[in-house]
Symmetry: C2
Subunit: 432 residues, 2 copies
């Protein structure tokens, strides 16, 4: 029976979960893999705080690099987070010829090409299943189950904090600020919630999915990222009346002219599986040329679900090491011609537009004329009973597929023409 | 670049799909695996019918065993189906030291232990990802992603024919026979639909999932299998009114006294993700100790989705072969003490019961007394406006958790007492 030594670097929430699983389910892992996967080192600056998991004190240390260098360590599990020391630890592990597991989406979204390149050069495995979707095996599926498929699109609810807020806004009719404050009180949102609610966490994950699907790493500042901050409860309500739920979606898709990658609050038809994803749960719907639509659902964060995926990666690498093999040499496979990123202005989507229309004859006509003048075709227009300022009437327009730039120009023109009393609000609609 | 030779044995729907993917997406597979996965043999008794995929005629042959023996063949893909020649081909491949991929759920449900045993003895890989869930990677997830998890329960919609019929009954209010006839006309149901609608296909899959989860192979005739044949439209309607959809569910769960495995039409709460699975789509919800709930959704059958999973297995084995490794030595891992199968009579579920109650004073009282006398506690009872025979009133009872034997005895007593004009109907309810 082969023994495989694991070091956890970063003994926070997920690190404690990994330690728990490796110890509690060690027999299960042995029965299933035939390998003795053994936790031999835990490194953290704080090795005194109780993490709710009993570990042999002799494996604790404060020096991450000593843990990496320990000859008993075959696999380094980086769970520090961020792009500073975490990157140094991973590169040190690679240089020492150790396999790496990480859940660090920010690091991979920013420095993936460099890190994967070094791993390939040194011939070590790097697995990062938990960097997208927590306990959901979306990365495993992209790399393995769908290996024979060209990926056409991925639509993902990839941030539990946002989905929790959106679910409560929808179910309870509460305003954004109130639910956010509640989520912070309950520990579902950080004191500084920007990474989640402004869409950046989801964007990091979208960039990793795009890299795996299309072999290209785009920088964060090249893609459209809109979060849910300040989402108006009226839009949640009107969307519901029209048969949609608003979800913060990551969209990654191949179109003729390039790859479309963006993050934005998006109207999802209620009959769509993604509309059924509530609370802190995450899901990704992948459309591919052979398997067609498949969806993966589960907890996108949390100690045990994230650790479950980390341990799945550890077990895979342990099997690789036992076979003397490096399995995923080609982390971001180049699967064809280099693929350009579509400019956000060129993306085509159906849109939901809400306008506070000045209640005078001709206003609606000028709006439809402006939209039509930019080639935007209207699928439905509804005048709502609203709580706008006196003299303004809320009007919701659903469009057919339209170019993003055309929508923006039409709305600029509408605003400039003085027929609306507020800046128009618009969201994209998920079309099947 | 290593070359891996594949033989497809059985050139039917799925075989043609595998040939299509291996040829059309060969470059993709090469980019992602670094291996040249090459289709070198196709064996079928009929090698003249056009399968809608162009193949080099020189690779076609009518002798399955010659294909298996061909030295260019490293992986034998068995897609004949059934338990006759398919079994012989697989065993011949194993004896010849070739790796095997199969989608044959019936064969594995009946002869899995023997086949896996021989594969282990000869030291060859056998993969069977497409035997459960078609294009959905539920087996991959059980073997890999959730490798660090103890499986608590699996609830699966694993037969597209049944789910198609149930979806149309629900959405269009049509009777079972009419939808079945339509499904047969459209090619969604076989001329002899028994394997699907009587639940046996789902049961084969449930037995494979139970084996992977708990290390035990139970025989088909040891488990409770109820299909959807003759399902009454009233039950679909009443269930909908009560907030449920009726789905043919495979249930596999670990309880204190053993493993619970059964297949039966089951009421699924509408807010449950499984209730959103419509038409021919399949899904499995897995609850495990670390990842908690995860769900996998997609097309459970069909040429390309099933072939997609077969190709995922082929790619995995190709990677194993390139590394000189047998990866899944331990196909049905013994993860603890041998686990007994719970007797169906001992299973505890919540129940939906429909009774045609004789419209006389005291009838309802005798029913509630009979249920209470067998320890069955009532959660809700509703008298419906119905289309029963004159003098009879439809009554629907929802119970709390109750022992199956107690329900059956109580209903026998109710029937014997003469207060019902039809045999009572009952279904189990999925509880979260």
């Amino acid at each position: 029976m082969k023994k495989v030594g694991v070091a956890i670097v970063g003994f926070g929430t997920v690190g404690a979960g990994v330690a728990e699983i490796l110890q509690k389910n060690r027999g299960l892992l042995l029965a299933r893999t035939g390998l003795d996967i053994s936790l031999v080192r835990i490194a953290d600056l704080d090795i005194t705080t109780d993490r709710g998991v009993a570990v042999d004190p002799s494996i604790l240390c404060t020096d991450a690099f000593a843990a990496v260098a320990d000859p008993a360590v075959d696999i380094v599990v980086e769970l520090i987070g961020g792009t500073g020391i975490a990157k140094k630890v991973i590169l040190a592990a690679i240089q020492a010829g150790k396999a790496v597991v990480t859940a660090n989406k920010k690091l991979l979204a920013e420095y993936g090409a460099e890190i994967f390149g070094q791993a390939a050069e040194k011939g070590v495995d790097i697995y990062f299943g938990a960097s997208v979707g927590g306990g959901i095996p979306v990365i495993r599926v992209l790399r393995e189950g769908l290996v024979g498929n060209a990926i056409q699109s991925i639509h993902g609810i990839l941030n539990g904090t946002c989905n929790y807020i959106l679910t409560r806004m929808e179910n309870e009719g509460l305003p954004f600020d109130e639910v956010l404050a509640d989520a912070q009180r309950l520990g579902y949102a950080e004191a500084d919630p920007s990474l989640d609610i402004d869409g950046f966490d989801t964007a990091h994950k979208a960039l990793i999915l795009a890299a795996l699907s299309y072999g290209v790493q785009f920088p964060l500042d090249s893609i459209l990222v809109e979060g849910i901050r300040g989402l108006d409860g009226r839009d949640v309500r009107y969307a519901a009346e029209l048969g949609y739920k608003i979800k913060l979606l990551a969209t990654v898709a191949r179109e003729e002219s390039g790859v479309k990658v963006f993050v934005a609050p998006t109207l999802v038809p209620k009959a769509h599986m993604l509309a059924s994803v509530s609370g802190v749960f995450n899901a990704a719907m992948i459309r591919s040329d052979m398997a067609d639509d498949t969806l993966y659902y589960g907890r996108g964060a949390g100690r045990r679900p994230t650790a479950s995926t980390v341990v799945g990666d550890i077990a895979d690498i342990a099997r690789n090491l036992a076979a003397g093999e490096v399995r995923h040499k080609n982390v971001i496979p180049k699967t064809g011609e280099p693929t350009p990123l579509m400019a956000a202005s060129d993306m085509r989507n159906a849109f939901y537009i809400r306008l506070a229309v000045d209640d005078r004859p001709g206003s609606l006509g000028r709006i439809t004329t402006a939209l039509g003048g930019h080639g935007v075709s209207i699928a439905a227009a509804l005048q709502k009973q609203g709580d706008e300022k006196p003299g303004a009437v809320p009007v919701v327009v659903l469009t057919h597929l339209a170019r993003e730039a055309d929508i923006r120009e039409a709305l600029d023109e509408i605003r400039a023409s003085g027929v609306v009393t507020e800046t128009p609000v618009f969201y994209r609609i998920l079309k099947d």
